[in-house]
Symmetry: C2
Subunit: 109 residues, 2 copies
DNA sequence: CACAAACCCTAGAGAAACTAGGGAAGACAT
DNA sequence: ATGTCTTCCCTAGTTTCTCTAGGGTTTGTG
């Protein structure tokens, strides 16, 4: 019964941000998010793969098959120029939204 | 075409927080959210009413018919004890999630 | 009287994340 | 060599929210 889950709409931002640090395969993206968030955020594979497909379709990221650190076949994604722009937009939007929600919570009138 | 919208999952928190300041009717809740967030957050009625029903069913809030400031028939909602507890939980969860996402964005490793 | 504003409500669509599966291929221990 | 674990990819179907786009009633006002 409702564990703590991702906020809907933030996964794209997280993925874009991870990929800004360099190309990464799907499994690795999920691991990095988990790691960077100190175990708070956990992205299920059933969420991740559909998400990267959407993002690829939108032209934000590009895929290329390669070999992982562990010598496994893996699909590496990297940001496109459009993706970098999208990252900037979403980062700004995230800041704006959290600030707005913070204002409501703090009841700053 | 994607306007800025609510983060899915945050509406309950916003409503609970508004009601902590005192009983309020649906229309007024939406207005207050809009106002407190300096026009950033806008809750559609088609989102609001289903949300309060869900919350009522869960026992977080209670409704009572009354008359509004503008002399209109209005359904006033107020927090229950369970609702106050839920508000505390969701506030803490919100803080935790935004911090985690912030860490990923800031790439603080 | 007409019309706007303040209220309530609902069905259906859309989007995003999850559950719960499936599979292949390398690593490693026995 | 065999079996098991881990790493990696994938997808169908369900759930949960929010929105769109309507519907309606009552009061106040030009």
């Amino acid at each position: 019964m409702s564990k703590i889950e991702l906020l809907q709409g933030t996964l794209d931002l997280l993925i874009l941000r991870i990929l800004q640090a360099g190309p990464m395969h799907g499994f690795g993206i999920a691991q990095k998010i988990h790691l960077l968030s100190a175990d708070v955020l956990k992205v299920e594979e059933g969420s991740l793969y559909p998400a990267v497909y959407r993002m690829e379709r939108k032209g934000w990221i590009e895929a290329e098959w390669g070999v992982s650190e562990n010598n496994r076949r893996a699909k590496f994604y990297k940001l496109t120029r459009k993706g970098r722009k999208q990252l900037a937009t979403e980062t700004a939007n995230w800041a704006k939204l959290t600030e707005a929600i913070g204002q409501v919570i703090a009841q700053t009138e």
